[in-house]
């Protein structure tokens, strides 16, 4: 695999791993990280979180990734694990560019 691609994938893997680890801990999920698929929805089906759990996601973004989610942000950023990671990586790019 090419270096550039490998780095992108490694970066994504790292964030995926961290997100799953923290969610499992903070939300008392029964799963191990490999049991949670990347497209697993957070709400409705999938992890079936409720609004109280949603606050944990916001806290996680702040404490583990330094992201402060503003009020009124379109909640689709936490639709599933992949979209949460997309959000985190986007934010990382934005801060690096700045």
């Amino acid at each position: 695999m090419q270096e550039v691609l490998k780095n992108i994938i490694d970066e994504r893997k790292a964030v995926l791993g961290e997100v799953k680890k923290v969610l499992i801990e903070r939300l008392n999920l029964y799963q191990e990280p490999q049991d949670i698929d990347e497209d697993t929805p957070l709400f409705g089906s999938g992890l079936k979180l409720d609004s109280v759990d949603a606050t944990e996601v916001v806290v996680m973004l702040d404490m583990s990734f330094g992201i402060k989610v503003e009020e009124g942000t379109d909640p689709s950023f936490m639709r599933n694990i992949n979209q949460l990671v997309d959000f985190i990586l986007e934010h990382k790019r934005a801060t690096e560019a700045a």
Binding site: M1, Q2, V4, L5, I8, I9, R12, K13, Y30, Q31, Q34, D35, I36, D37, E38, D39, T40, P41, G44, S45, G46, L47, G72, D74, P75, S76, R79, N80, N82, Q83, V85, D86, L89
Partner: protein, 395 residues
């Protein structure tokens, strides 16, 4: 006689047989049906779902030992969306299990009536205090779905509709259930009712639906929306794999449940390395490219890393979307380094992505605040927020 089917035969473009039951495949123009489901309200007939009522003292036990999900999770008026596994730990079909106090109603889209009953009978083991009644022939399923389907359903069934959570249901009189569920990412309400009542309900919904610009839709529409919001699909990704891990459906099983059919092989699988996964794929190029098809090979730097499964044109994204069955090392969302080679010999760039592919309109709608028909209310939360900000800017 089935009045509803007679109606379909008169009015629908075509009717097909699924699981031995006849349902409309296409009602009008596919793009009109699509628009209605994605923007306001569509009316569909899902009577082809196999329906099984399971009651008796050991009903819970029979269910819990047969499916891979945790039936103890659901209480009265709640539904479990889970799967039945085979002896290799692979998915046979997904099922909805509705807990109606002491009894259960099981809905299955992908197997016929006899197969569904058989699956439970094979798995019930020593449990015998149970009665299984098929509702497949006796009951129809009329579905009103779309971002404002809650509002139309409320007109027919009252304010209680607004309170039904996703996968919740209400048991109504006359052997009727109103289930909030759908496999398209929009609000959706399925009415499971005795077949002789179905025609009257269909007509009532059609009439009341006029203010909502309701369009009648068939299974062809749902096949399309299933592309954008993927679910377990025997004809789609289910044709290349039935492994919950490869299909990204691990959430439908409970590895920590003590006993169920297929548990040991499932746990064995869990310990083995994963080789391939289904990942969402979007074409970089816009437009409906007919040359692209299932089976097209995915390449990374000239190396074959996977194949397309289940592809089609997404009217919302205006691009071709697909699911890729990709080697694990490459199977991540957010990658733009891969290409596909299609039947026309052309290589085209693709992006891997999270699924569902689209942000459904229903996500922007709050039934407590918004309305389609009431001019005093905003259509969705976005409009509401914008108006609020505009007002504050003025002040």
């Amino acid at each position: 006689m089935n009045g509803l089917l007679a109606l379909h035969n008169q009015q629908a473009k075509n009717v097909i047989s699924v699981n031995g039951i006849e349902v409309p495949n296409q009602y009008s123009e596919l793009d009109k049906e699509y628009y209605a489901l994605r923007h306001n309200v569509a009316l569909s007939d899902y009577s082809h779902y196999s329906k099984l009522k399971i009651e008796g003292d050991e009903a819970f036990d029979v269910l819990d030992v047969s499916v891979a999900g945790d039936v103890a999770e659901i209480r009265d008026e709640q539904t479990l969306h889970t799967v039945l596994l085979d002896e290799a730990g692979n998915i046979i079909t997904d099922v909805y299990i509705m807990n109606d106090d002491d009894s259960y109603v099981v809905l299955a889209e992908h197997v016929d009536d006899a197969t569904l009953m058989n699956l439970f009978q094979e798995r019930m083991g020593e449990f015998e205090d149970v009665e299984m009644t098929s509702l497949t022939q006796s009951h129809a399923i009329v579905a009103v779905e779309g971002p404002y389907s809650w509002e139309l359903a409320k007109e027919i069934y009252g304010m209680d509709v607004i309170g039904i959570p996703f996968l919740g249901f209400i048991a109504l009189e006359d052997d009727t259930y109103l289930l909030r569920a759908g496999k398209h990412g929009e609000f959706g309400y399925k009415v499971i009712l005795p077949i002789q009542e179905a025609e009257a309900l269909w007509k009532e919904i059609e009439e009341k639906g006029m203010r909502y610009e309701l369009v009648k839709a068939g299974l062809a529409l749902h096949k399309l929306t299933r592309l954008e919001n993927p679910y377990f699909s025997p004809a789609g990704s289910g044709s290349v794999s039935r492994d919950p891990r490869e299909l990204q459906l691990q959430w439908m099983v409970r590895y920590d449940k003590d006993e169920f059919f297929g548990r040991e092989p499932l746990l064995e699988k869990r310990d083995q390395a994963l080789t391939k996964i289904i990942v969402g794929v979007v074409l970089e190029q816009e437009g409906e490219i007919k040359a692209i098809g299932s089976g097209d090979v995915i390449f990374c730097n000239g190396e074959e890393i996977g194949k397309l499964v289940s592809c089609g044109y997404s009217p919302s994204l205006k691009k071709v979307i697909a699911q890729g069955f990709i080697d694990k090392a490459y199977a991540y969302a957010g990658i733009d380094a891969y290409v596909i080679k299609s039947a026309d010999g052309v290589e085209r760039k693709i992006n891997t992505t999270a699924t569902p592919f689209i942000n459904n309109h229903s996500m922007l709608i709050n039934p407590n605040e918004n309305s389609f028909v009431n001019p005093d209310k905003f259509r969705n939360m976005l409009e509401q927020l914008e108006a609020k900000e505009a007002k504050e800017a003025e002040a």
